[in-house]
Symmetry: D2
Subunit: 143 residues, 4 copies
């Protein structure tokens, strides 16, 4: 992730969620804890997928998290808020890849790649429903 300079630019991402940090997000080193940063990315991912799920009412497939990778590129700080930038980097047959970046004061301090898999009622992999595919296409990473 960090090898791609575009990923450090907020302009690359079509969606955004702003969240305050909490005192409890810090660890004994006095900066945002790695696991707390993972929770901030989880929150952005959940809110993005909730938007997707609302399109899928009826025979709603489950969207499962298969992989999460985070590059910790700088320290994050409390009580600064975090801007979580989001976009879709890959769309497959039954899965997609979400690219995120966390910013404080216009500086990126962490990057996140998540692989999400769509599962049908039987628990097996299912093809991305067309309405979901269109939403993902509309949120492609810029550039």
């Amino acid at each position: 992730m960090r090898g791609d300079p575009r990923r450090l630019q907020a302009a690359a991402y079509p969606a955004r969620l702003d969240l305050p940090t909490r005192f409890g997000d810090m660890d004994a080193n006095g900066h945002l804890n790695n696991v707390a940063i993972a929770q901030l990315f989880e929150e952005a991912r959940v809110q993005f997928n909730t938007g997707s799920a609302q399109l899928l009412a009826g025979a709603r497939p489950r969207i499962m998290v298969a992989h999460v990778g985070i590059d910790y590129v700088a320290e994050g700080h409390y009580p600064l808020p975090v801007a979580l930038m989001m976009g879709i980097s890959e769309i497959g047959n039954s899965s997609f890849r979400m690219a995120m970046a966390a910013f404080q004061a216009d500086r990126c301090f962490a990057l996140c790649d998540s692989v999400l898999v769509v599962r049908g009622p039987d628990g097996g992999r299912a093809a991305l429903p067309q309405v979901l595919r269109e939403r993902l296409e509309a949120h492609r990473l810029n550039g």
Copy 2:
């Protein structure tokens, strides 16, 4: 709680749960965070109540937490494990009070009082089932 010197003695409590602490339980002050200490007490309470719930199979009432109060009497430290001591201090008609204390290296660093309420299938308060009452009586605080 802290006004009662017996509450600081491990011998007062008939039940015990030992738990390791986690790096993530510390906060920016470098000691166990107040909220993390609340989570350790939650774990002891859940495990105690799971033991109660297993007696109540069938028409199982729900045991709800109505109140939790914690006295922070000293600092807690990672990576020391915690001994969570538990006992029942009051048994009412539809509720009971659980008294806990957290120790590290034989020193009490926090006390906890929880009020738990039994609710029936309609969500209203229900009388303590006899089998639960007997279990609570068997776990009364000593002395």
Copy 3:
């Protein structure tokens, strides 16, 4: 706390902090976890005390949490935001009591009382500095 009907009214509290909830604040019961609610109250308390600490630059005493008690009066829900209402209910010689309430959609779901103690450079109890006492008086619970 819950015995005092004023405590359930937002109008009783002179200060307010709005926070979003996180998916991770829920537990296996699908509502806001008791410990997560304690963390929301911690965040409000930390932000209030940060405001106090900024007045105390120089010979800054430490403000320690000696007690936290929470009444869980209803279920809290994600993804609703939380309004944390705050006021000071007691001011002593070296300690004060902070009263808080957590609201969602104008409904109070939890009350919190915290006892905070001022400690001097030697770790012992210290008298409340005058500038802190004035700030606390200015944030008394209404009514």
Copy 4:
């Protein structure tokens, strides 16, 4: 990670940490939360690195987490304990890669790769001290 079948075998890993799970590790889906699983891996990583740091007394370099990637291969469950298996998969000039796997009841439910970087007193990358290199070599993944 999951593409390598050896990584799913406990026998591949030379070190092990057993941890209990907590009720608070579950999320609203009723299984171990992805972020909580990240915290369990953090705990294993911290304990492994604490062992390394104890060898480095004196001019102690800082070991920073640059990347964490987790494959979620199955659901994890409370209250089962977790066996965290650990080994070193790569040793570079100033960084190393740690491979972990989380098991419950002899079934792997998550894999983790972490990249750790050694930084000197000036904050820049520093060569792995010889004593650390030897410890890492002694903990290579088996096979």
